[in-house]
Symmetry: C2
Subunit: 346 residues, 2 copies
DNA sequence: CTGTTAGCGCTTTCAG
DNA sequence: CTGAAAGCGCTAACAG
């Protein structure tokens, strides 16, 4: 392992100069720069990031803490984050919070101890926001993705309310009056906003809100079977379903199949979140698609810009979602081969 | 941030002792240990991993370098790795190699520079194995996943040859004689082994091998359209397809749909790799499922055991795959609600 | 425009 | 059973 001292000797300069050449952190004579570069070239020198970090500089690593890193939504986001971060010479430290506040805090502390320059977090439902408090006191820059919190911190996510209303109105336009929602995890802003959009959509369609038609998960990863059971029983069952997230959609589709129900014949279904392969599902799903890659890229952009300027005003970004019209809503089949209909949602 | 010096002072001992208490690296008097622990407790001290690393100790981080981290197969593996690693107090540094040898080498060097204690790598096709050479000379413990190389290094993957033969024979038993394979990326051991299994399956079914029925990708991420075109044109087109990996399966399914071909009516299809949601596809896919979580867990297990004992004999582990019988092969429909048929694959 | 030097927080000889 | 002290490789005052 070549060290900086070695390079300095080879180039006939001091370590200081090598360091400054490397970091562009002060003016250096052209020729000196050239000599240093030559020495670096010759020795194949690569700076040791650990030593760099210890000496007080940045680690050029950023922490990513999210739930269910195998969740397809987050995978897209993470993949975009990885690409964008790598572009800027940053490495990623990954942690799975499982959407549990305690685990989230532990994981984030771990990342901070490892001196990440900043972190991207999809905050778990946590009334006390312990993680955010910790981050604030530790002075570690962070950007939140997906879920929003009422705090002065950078955040990126998508529009939730209007698109969900669009989904509901689409169903109402098709003649449905018993439209239910199976929302995501209780306590997440996304869940709340989508439920709000659901209510708004009903109002705007002149339909009453029946709280019995609103289900949301209290615990991560529960199957949707009970919820579906409640929604479809009784004298006035739901005839159409809005599902609040893609992991929920999987569970709902499975629950429906368990009951021998076919979509959209027996029940119409639309969802929030697209899947990379939802065009291969049966039926093809009508959904709101989030700009996952943009969310990831923007998260890194915000984070890096904050590293540059700690005092910049916090930004809260809502990226537009798209309405992807396929067949699960029960509209006349779009034809397998035709282009999918994509319009801005709301 | 409390430092070790602070703790030492509070406990009335030297830093050396604190260090040894922390690491259990030499005998220390019971009472001294207690005093140190008390001081740690009192100050809320957490060791600084960066300083630790620089001082030559372990970083308790492991690098993970794979292609297409949004690829569902690798996501499962990574998710298992994350869980297992977190259990043992290790953090993950993630890098995407995109299956390109150059990028792979750069990423791995980067990870090594960041002093990962070891790494998990899904090696890109690379005749010269530059990355493995580098790892060997750098003396960094690594375990390979998914793909195998003829090198004395720990490796975990699945059985490829026999299961693929099983797939072929299943198709042959259904009366197909023109069975094609759309294999994965050229140069990967998985691809080669699966093609070998394909040939073996044909032999064992008394069918001739027609090289025109063997396609594999030369470049990552190419669509399957051309391959499908070649396979289905001519006077004696394929009537059944074996697809070599799940990302390929997606591309093949899309290509078939472009052509208005329905599975299994117009053509039978079976694949390697299961999807978490392949039971929601139309049709439900008959596949060989890899024990992805076990692969990830085993990879970490091997890596940690090597950190313990650098001189242990390298192990090469093949975990068994399972044959998941659904409908895309064209067998009489299994019924949507029945349990899927799962048997060990060869 | 360049160099000297004091750490960053910890591990680990070496010496009691 | 315990400590003193020398680094690990780099950054950033401070001083020309």
């Amino acid at each position: 392992m070549t060290t900086m001292a070695e390079v300095a000797k080879q180039a006939g300069v001091s370590m200081t100069t090598v360091s400054h050449v490397l970091n562009g952190t002060r003016r250096v004579n052209e020729k000196t720069i050239a000599r240093v570069h030559a020495a670096i070239e010759r020795t194949g020198y690569r700076p040791n990031s650990i030593a760099r970090a210890l000496a007080g500089a940045r680690t050029r690593s950023i922490g990513v803490a999210m739930s269910g890193i195998s969740n397809p939504y987050f995978m897209d986001v993470i993949s975009a984050i990885e690409a964008e971060a790598a572009n800027h010479g940053y490495a990623l430290l990954l942690a799975d919070t499982h959407d549990e506040p305690d685990k989230e805090l532990r994981m984030v502390q771990e990342l901070v101890l490892r001196q990440v320059d900043g972190l991207v977090l999809a905050p778990a439902p946590d009334a006390h926001m312990r993680t955010l408090d910790y981050l604030a006191t530790a002075g570690v820059p962070a950007v939140l993705v997906d879920r929003f919190v009422p705090a002065g911190i950078d955040q990126v996510g998508t529009e939730n309310e209007r698109p969900t209303a669009t989904l509901v109105k689409h169903l109402a336009d098709l003649g449905h009056s018993r439209i239910a929602i199976v929302a995501g995890l209780h306590g997440l802003s996304t869940t709340e906003e989508r439920v709000r959009g659901y209510r708004a959509g009903l109002h705007e369609s002149g339909l009453p809100v029946d709280d019995a038609l609103i289900e949301s998960a209290r615990i991560p990863y529960v199957p949707a079977d009970d919820a579906i059971g409640r929604l479809l029983s009784g004298s006035n069952p739901a005839t159409a379903l809005v599902v609040g997230s893609n992991s929920m959609t999987i569970r709902v589709l499975r629950a429906l199949r368990e009951r021998g129900l076919s979509v959209p014949r027996d029940i119409a279904l639309v969802g929030f979140d697209d899947f990379e392969w939802s065009d291969l599902f049966q039926p093809r799903l009508t959904v709101i698609a989030q700009p996952t890659r943009d969310i990831g890229a923007k998260a890194i952009e915000l984070l890096l810009s904050r590293l540059d300027d700690r005092d910049r005003e916090p930004q809260s970004l809502r990226l537009p979602a798209t309405f992807v019209h396929r067949e699960s809503c029960g509209c006349k089949a779009q034809g397998d081969r035709g282009p999918r209909t994509v319009v801005p949602a709301a």
